[in-house]
Amino acid sequence: MPRWGMVIDLDRCTGCQACSIACRTENNVPACGDRNAWKGRAIFWNKVVAVRMDGHGETAHGPHGAAAAHSRPRFRFLPMPCMHCERPPCTMVCPVRATTKNVEGIVMQVPSRCIGCRLCQAACPYSRRYFNWQEVSFPGDLGQALNPDVALRTLGVIEKCTFCIHRFQKVREQARAEDREIREGEYVTACVQACPARARTFGDLDNPSHAVAKLAQSPRAFRLLHELGTGPQVVYLHEGSWQDDSGLPVRDLLSKEKEDHG
């Protein structure tokens, strides 16, 4: 049984946001409008968080602020899809089983079953769950370019990254029809496919022949907030220590994210 996971090489990531755009287009992620964006309600299944690395934190001084004149601002990018934890706190708190851990490792969300209690949003330590604060809308002609394989969500439900489950369903069916296992690279998510720097790798973490399994064993590998015991199936690669280097410890960064859109 495969255990699908992703490796993201932070040293390769240029912060171009191609993954975010690919994800939005692939999964029909709605636009929230200016007002809701200001309230921190913009939905990003995959969000590239910019972390300021020159010791001034993210908000104390803007990139063009006074501090920038003295020290050259340095940013590092942290692309954050759902971590698809091995022991996901979100599925444990859902009162209606709208979110479940799949046998092949994908944390699935069924928005049509969701009652919008937002317990999962509170439980997720990575803030990877988003609530639909308004009816789904798309600016301009984007509403006519939706992916027919992904159902639109409605007002008042939670949505999140599903590792492009609709792609998986098709690939799995094809493999079953041909009576074989899913090959490496046959099932990849939209963000992995779009990454121009090839910072992302996707595959079966339990299959030693998959690149993702080898990379996850790298000495550069770390998992976000692994001390919580959630066991993320998204593994990051970074030279040196991420937390010492950043000036803003990753835990603070994530709690700030939570305040922003919680």
Partner: protein, 168 residues
């Protein structure tokens, strides 16, 4: 006067809506499955061509009908006007506007290939004795089938009921 016209139009619409609210529809051609399947031995996949290859089984293209009805194989007088309709569609290059009753909600991924081909489930398991019916189905699938039918069938056959296999 204007208000009255609007009012009566509204009333007509309301009556129409009521008439349609039982969800029954009429197909453009009163297709007789019994003659085609039971008497003449056609298989489901002869007309619903994508049943083993795609998620949707598909409704018959006019060229499929014309494969047989191009020649005068039908002697029934009752069917004659409908055969004419098919030939007219063929001549004009248009498709028969079948009403697709068997559509599932968008958040469900149901694949005929997965069930009919890979698992080898007989069509009648979900569609009943449609091969013996003399009129086309009139009710949408959600009136005759719900998620519990899926769940029960999966349980009986010992198939995983994982949300992620069918929902998206």
């Amino acid at each position: 006067m204007g208000a009255f016209v609007n009012g009566s139009a509204g009333l007509c619409l309301a009556v129409l809506a009521l008439a349609c609210s039982d969800g029954e529809v009429t197909q453009p051609i009163p297709f007789n499955h019994n003659i085609h399947v039971s008497k003449n031995g056609l298989a489901c996949e002869d007309c619903h061509e994508q049943v083993f290859t795609g998620p949707s089984a598909g409704l018959p293209r006019v060229s499929v009908c014309m494969g047989c009805h191009d020649s005068d194989i039908t002697t029934s007088q009752a069917a004659a006007p409908h055969i004419e309709t098919i030939r007219r569609h063929s001549k004009e290059g248009t498709e028969i506007p079948w009403v697709n009753l068997y559509t599932l909600p968008h958040h469900v991924y149901y694949s005929h290939r997965r069930h009919a081909k890979i698992a080898g489930i007989a069509c009648a398991t979900c569609h009943g004795d449609i091969g013996k019916s003399e009129t086309p189905p009139r009710l949408p699938i959600e009136r005759t089938l719900d998620m519990w039918n899926c769940i029960d069938c999966h349980r009986e056959r010992g198939v995983d009921n994982d949300c992620a296999w069918c929902h998206r």
